[in-house]
């Protein structure tokens, strides 16, 4: 396990480098948007990665509620943390891309923008809850909140979908055909980002397990300390 980590890290680094080259140099330039469009490869890959991580958080939370396994709780925590990081990347690259293309930083009422923002808010509140809650109840409380958050996502989507607005249409996905070369680069970037996310999760998972071990040992030591020695 320990030897696998640097190997996986090296593979991820190589993949990220290659994906960067492909996105910035090898991919064809978009006709109307020009080079600005290249942010697309990062924006969309981060979004897909974030959604997968939030899904992992949801599944792990349900597993925790059913089985009460500590492993599931750590996975849920890691999924939410790394998911929030990638979701933040999406929310930062979105306006950067929107400004030169749509002429505005933010389109209030756009389904994807706003539901991503609400998703981000929900998971930030999840992390705050974990930070604020003390004692052994944290995993249960957090898992319950994760279930509520996941139930909320489709409702958020539908509510904003109907929001009356005159925002610019999203550039991708509404029937417009995408150049197969671009699709190829996008998928490559997504793969690289997923590997990067997996690497982060792995490191964070080990850190969290170690942290809990240390806490447990410290608690035990304070119990076992002989009274006479004080």
């Amino acid at each position: 396990m320990k030897r696998l980590f640097p190997i996986f890290g090296a593979i991820t680094t190589a993949l990220l480098g290659f994906a960067l080259y492909e996105a910035l140099i090898a991919a064809p330039t978009e006709q109307t948007m020009g080079n600005v469009q290249r942010i697309f490869y990062y924006h969309v890959s981060s979004a897909w990665t974030a959604f997968i991580l939030f899904a992992i958080n949801f599944v792990a939370s349900i597993v925790y509620l059913v089985k009460r396994s500590e492993k599931a709780d750590v996975i849920a925590l890691v999924g939410a943390e790394v998911g929030v990081v990638f979701c933040t990347v999406v929310l930062v690259t979105g306006p950067l891309w929107a400004r030169p293309v749509w002429g505005i930083w933010w389109a209030p009422g756009d389904v994807r923008l706003t539901s991503t923002l609400v998703l981000w808010l929900i998971y930030v509140s999840y992390l705050i809850l974990r930070r604020f809650s003390s004692s052994g109840q944290t995993p249960m409380i957090a898992a319950v909140l994760a279930v509520f958050g996941a139930l909320d996502v489709p409702l958020v989507y539908f509510s904003i979908w109907f929001f009356p607005t005159q925002h610019p249409q999203p550039v991708i996905g509404d029937g417009g055909a995408i150049d197969p070369r671009m699709m190829h680069v996008l998928l490559l970037n997504w793969l690289a980002f997923s590997c990067f996310a997996a690497l982060l999760c792995w490191a964070r998972y080990r850190l969290e397990v170690l942290r809990r071990d240390v806490d447990e040992t410290l608690a035990l030591e304070s119990l076992l300390e002989p009274r006479g020695s004080r």
């Binding site: 109840q137 319950v144 509520f148 909320d152 539908f158």
Partner: protein, 225 residues
């Protein structure tokens, strides 16, 4: 009357009696909502057309903030004298307690709304251009949406440090679809241009989903060690 509903009724009656004698929640909610209305009326000087557009947002934000005041007291009250622990060891169903608490909060917030709405109409010169009766289902469903989740999250947040801050942090993100539906539905009725039907349907869905989820998970939350 079945055992479940009699426990619910007893618990609800106790909460209402407590509130009737102390008037803690309703007084603080009323004054808070009044302050919000007054501050908003200073910050905007809207004409009739504009106020029709923004009033839906103002009124619901005021009610949401005021409701949090009452929701925070829901379970904190039971912590004194270990009432909650007594409930935990009793064989009574957890859901009957939850329903009683949610219904109690629902009644308090409805009273608040009944008292504050005339004031709002007065301050902002409101007149509905659409079918005004639709405001009633929007208000009832919207209030239940805030209250059912709020009661549940208040039970979560009593297990954290600084619980009074925690409740809005948990409640507001999850409530965004309901809040959007209330605000847009109210604006649709007041403006009379769009139909509020979709928003009412969304509120019904939201209420059903989260009522079931709360009843499903409340026992886990109450009995957590």
């Amino acid at each position: 009357m079945s055992l479940f509903s009699s426990i619910t009724a007893a618990s609800l009656a106790k909460d209402i009696r407590l509130e009737w004698r102390s008037k803690d929640a309703i007084n603080s909610m009323l004054f808070f909502a009044l302050l919000v209305v007054v501050v908003f009326s200073f910050s905007f000087d809207p004409n009739a057309e504009e106020s029709r557009r923004i009033a839906g947002g103002l009124i619901w934000v005021a009610f949401l903030f005021a409701a949090v005041v009452a929701l925070n007291q829901t379970w904190a009250r039971e912590l004194r004298n270990q009432v909650l622990d007594a409930y935990r060891v009793s064989p009574a169903s957890a859901n009957s307690l939850f329903l009683a608490k949610a219904l109690g909060n629902f009644i308090f917030v409805c009273v608040l709304e009944a008292l504050m709405t005339p004031l709002f109409i007065l301050f902002y010169n409101l007149r509905a251009l659409g079918p005004a009766w639709q405001l009633i289902p929007i208000a009832v469903l919207g209030t239940w949406a805030i209250v059912v989740n709020g009661t549940f999250f208040a039970a979560l947040s009593i297990r954290t440090r600084s619980r009074e801050i925690m409740l809005p942090l948990l409640l507001f993100p999850i409530s965004i679809p309901a809040l959007l539906a209330m605000v847009q539905g109210t604006a649709a009725v007041l403006g009379g241009e769009f139909s509020a039907r979709f928003w009412i349907a969304l509120l019904v869905t939201y209420d059903v989903v989260f009522t079931i989820a709360s009843l499903f998970l409340f026992e886990t939350v109450l009995h957590a060690e």
